[in-house]
């Protein structure tokens, strides 16, 4: 069952990822990315990270991607122009990509210690409780610092998006 689920959602993720890259219109890419994230959320769940799966859906797919789509709409972004420069990428890009992935795969298979099979339900720490405990004890200071980071980001965004710059 786990294997089937993994294969289905991995296929969805890869398919959406490929679609993200090949689509010319940004809105198509954005929707593909949402698909990738959703598929990843399921995989997170399979790995026992239920809090992260929820956060993935809510924060990433929900908030960030909405922001993207909103910007695309706002700027009324159209399809990319075709240029001749893409020839090189077309000829060598796909083989290079495949080579890259094969390399990584080879490294993972040869260099990593033997990995166990992933069985759903064997790791249950990734609940909101488990993550929260860690986050508010051991990682309290970084967590608080992120609030500062977000504050700065908000200020930066406000300043940048103002009319006169």
């Amino acid at each position: 069952m786990d294997a089937i689920l993994f294969l289905i959602f991995a296929a969805i993720a890869v398919g959406c990822g490929v679609n993200l890259v090949v689509q010319r219109h940004p809105i198509s890419s954005a929707l593909s990315l949402v698909g990738v994230m959703a598929a990843l959320a399921v995989l997170y769940l399979l790995l026992g990270a239920e809090f992260m799966a929820a956060a993935q859906m809510i924060v990433y797919a929900g908030a960030i991607m909405v922001l993207f789509v909103f910007t695309i709409m706002l700027l009324n972004a159209g399809s990319e122009r075709k240029t001749d420069k893409a020839l090189f990428a077309r000829l060598f890009g796909v083989p290079a990509l495949i080579g890259f992935i094969v390399l990584i795969g080879f490294l993972i298979r040869t260099l990593l210690p033997k990995t166990e099979n992933v069985v759903f339900g064997t790791f249950t720490e990734g609940t909101a409780r488990g993550v929260g405990l860690k986050l508010f004890t051991e990682y309290l200071l970084p967590f608080e610092v992120t609030s500062l980071l977000i504050l700065i980001a908000i200020l930066g965004a406000v300043v940048l998006a103002r009319k006169e710059i």
């Binding site: 890259f100 390399l103 990584i104 080879f106 490294l107 040869t110 260099l111």
Partner: protein
């Protein structure tokens, strides 16, 4: 504390004042500052000496440590003994008079404040040189007076000849200084100190070196320094050219004080020299040679200042002769009397030049006796003094030297006597050409103002009676014991006769039968030309030293080493950087996706290496 530091500090203050704000001050204020400082310094010297009393032993004031590095410990210490006292009186006394004179002489010159600033700075360094209680402090003064000499010779720096003369003086002095510094190093290595007291205390118990040794080396190296500063063979060539400077400078620096620094230094180092008879012999012979050589050149020159310049070189030779034969006191004695009459000669010459609006050629003078009588009168005093006519200043000191020379080697005495005759001759020649006969120039001579002839009158009195009144050898007896044996009247008579003979011959040649001199000159032909052209020493140096250096520098150092090697390295580095940059610039496309592609490629490369390394290790 006698506050010896005030003696050099006063002129330094004058330099600082005139050097900084002198440009904005009225001329009268500049003059006041410039003259007051040496005079105050002179008064302070008098006050100090009177309160120090007999000065049987040296009086030392230590102020602060200047350099402390390992075993090297140099303090800023001033020392006064009788030798210093004599030099202090000469430097500040004659210096004050010449400052006073310069106020009149330089009145219409540009850069008035600059001139006096330099002159005061010179006083500061000269007094430091004399007062310093160790060789390094002396060296500070030594270099400082060289600097001031350079600045003042090149005072009319827009004139190329003046600038060249200044450079020549500086460079030639540098050669001498090289010897001096080597001597310093040697002394420090051997004695671990440069303090006069410590060095001399270390030298005194050492055996006298009858063959060349350490002390001989030190003494000779010191003497190399002295030949530079005091214009002896082979480094005398700068002094005649130094006459490009204003006349008061010639009088103060290049006749009365700075050029005698070498003599002072040798006398100060008497202990070292007395332990190195070989070096003494060298000093005596160089001095004698210089005296003869310069006197012969002096006979043929027509520029009045050049005549006196060669006379200075010749008289300095006398002083070194004295030191070389062991009569240090006589050498210092001659320093003093020479300061009187040579300063007077130069200032008198300056007065003549001033009267003739800058004319220096003896052939354009003549018959000035009636037109500038005061100048003539004072110059006559200098004349009899330098000619060695008793009982005037030059007679006493020259006599002491000649007697000491006779005591040492009779042939030195005879050469000295011939030189004395020549000295009398060339001075008389200059006097006769200048003041007797018919006026040959086309200017309107006028007498100098009081501020100029006032100091001249004082110097004239000193030239007449200074030698008789100031018995320097007696005063210096605690330092340099008087020579045993009285004056042999025969020797004295011969040297006086030589002087009279010189004057007489000059009288015949230039007054009784003018024109005879020219026919003698043409009869001598080539030899006369050789002497007139100063034995072609400048040309010789030019061919032997200057040109090889210039050519070597130009062809080897410049074209090969500088252009090829140094520039080549620099340009090569630049070319390399440009080439590499050209390659790297292709990466800097400004297109962010290009950058990303390169980053990816780089990380893949790292991964590959990692895979090979770790996979291989497994």
């Amino acid at each position: 504390m006698e506050h010896l530091w005030l003696i050099p500090a006063l002129p330094l203050a004058g330099f600082a004042l005139n050097g900084t704000v002198g440009k904005r001050l009225p001329q009268i204020a500049v003059s006041l500052i410039a003259v007051a400082m040496p005079v105050l310094s002179f008064l302070w010297v008098l006050k100090t000496l009177s309160s120090l009393g007999s000065l049987e032993t040296a009086y030392i004031e230590r102020y602060f440590t200047w350099i402390e590095s390992g075993a090297l410990n140099i303090g800023v210490d001033f020392m006064v003994d009788r030798l210093t006292a004599v030099m202090l009186l000469v430097v500040t006394g004659i210096g004050s008079l010449i400052h006073l004179y310069a106020v009149g002489y330089m009145a219409h010159e540009g850069g008035y404040y600059r001139f006096f600033a330099y002159l005061n700075l010179f006083m500061f360094f000269m007094l430091t040189l004399v007062l310093g209680a160790n060789y390094l402090l002396m060296f500070v003064g030594w270099e400082g007076v060289g600097l001031c000499s350079y600045l003042l010779i090149g005072f009319y720096f827009v004139r190329k000849s003046a600038a060249d003369a200044a450079k020549k003086a500086f460079i030639v002095n540098r050669i001498g200084d090289f010897g001096y510094t080597l001597a310093l190093f040697l002394m420090f290595v051997q004695f671990g100190s440069l303090d006069f007291g410590k060095v001399f205390a270390a030298v005194a118990p050492m055996p006298v070196e009858h063959s060349a040794g350490l002390l001989t080396a030190i003494a000779l190296l010191l003497f190399v320094g002295a030949t530079g500063k005091s214009a002896q063979i082979p480094l005398y060539v700068w002094l005649p050219d130094a006459m490009e400077g204003p006349t008061p400078v010639s009088a103060l620096i290049h006749a009365a004080t700075m050029v005698t620094a070498g003599v002072y230094m040798v006398a100060r180092s008497a202990v070292i020299y007395q332990h190195a008879p070989l070096a003494m012999e060298v000093v005596a012979i160089i001095g004698l040679l210089t005296a003869v050589l310069a006197a012969t050149i002096g006979i043929t020159q027509y520029d009045i200042k050049k005549v006196f310049a060669y006379s200075t070189v010749s008289q300095l030779g006398y002083m070194f002769l004295a030191c070389g034969v062991g009569a240090f006191a006589a050498g210092i004695y001659h320093v003093v009397t020479h300061a009187f009459f040579k300063a007077l000669l130069f200032l008198g010459a300056g007065s003549v030049i001033h009267a003739l609006e800058g004319e220096q050629d003896l052939r354009q003078m003549g018959g000035l006796r009636k037109k500038i009588p005061i100048t003539f009168a004072v110059l006559c005093c200098a004349w009899v003094a330098i000619a060695g006519i008793p009982p005037f200043a030059g007679y006493f000191s020259k006599d002491e030297i000649l007697l000491a020379a006779h005591h040492h080697h009779p042939w030195m005495y005879w050469v000295g006597v011939v030189t004395a005759a020549m000295t009398a001759f060339y001075v008389s020649r200059a006097m006769f050409l200048c003041f007797f006969g018919q006026y040959r120039g086309h200017h309107h001579p006028h007498e100098s103002p009081f501020i100029m002839w006032g100091p001249l009158a004082v110097l004239a009195a000193l030239s007449l009676f200074g030698g008789w009144y100031f018995k320097v050898p007696n005063y210096l007896a605690p330092l340099f014991p008087l020579a045993e044996g009285g004056h042999e009247m025969a020797l004295v008579a011969i040297s006086v006769a030589a002087g009279v003979l010189g004057i007489g011959v000059a009288y015949v040649l230039y007054v009784v039968k003018p024109g005879l001199a020219d026919s003698i000159a043409s009869a001598l032909g080539g030899f006369y030309k050789l002497v007139y052209n100063k034995y072609l020493v400048d040309e010789l140096y030019d061919a032997a030293v200057v040109r090889p250096i210039v050519h070597g520098s130009r062809s080897l150092l410049w074209r090969v080493v500088d252009v090829g090697l140094i520039d080549g390295c620099v340009n090569g580095t630049a070319t390399l950087a440009r080439g590499v940059g050209g390659v790297l610039r292709a990466f800097q496309s400004g297109n962010i996706r290009n950058y990303a592609a390169w980053v990816t490629l780089g990380s893949v490369a790292v991964l590959v290496v990692l895979g090979i390394a770790v996979g291989g290790a497994r």
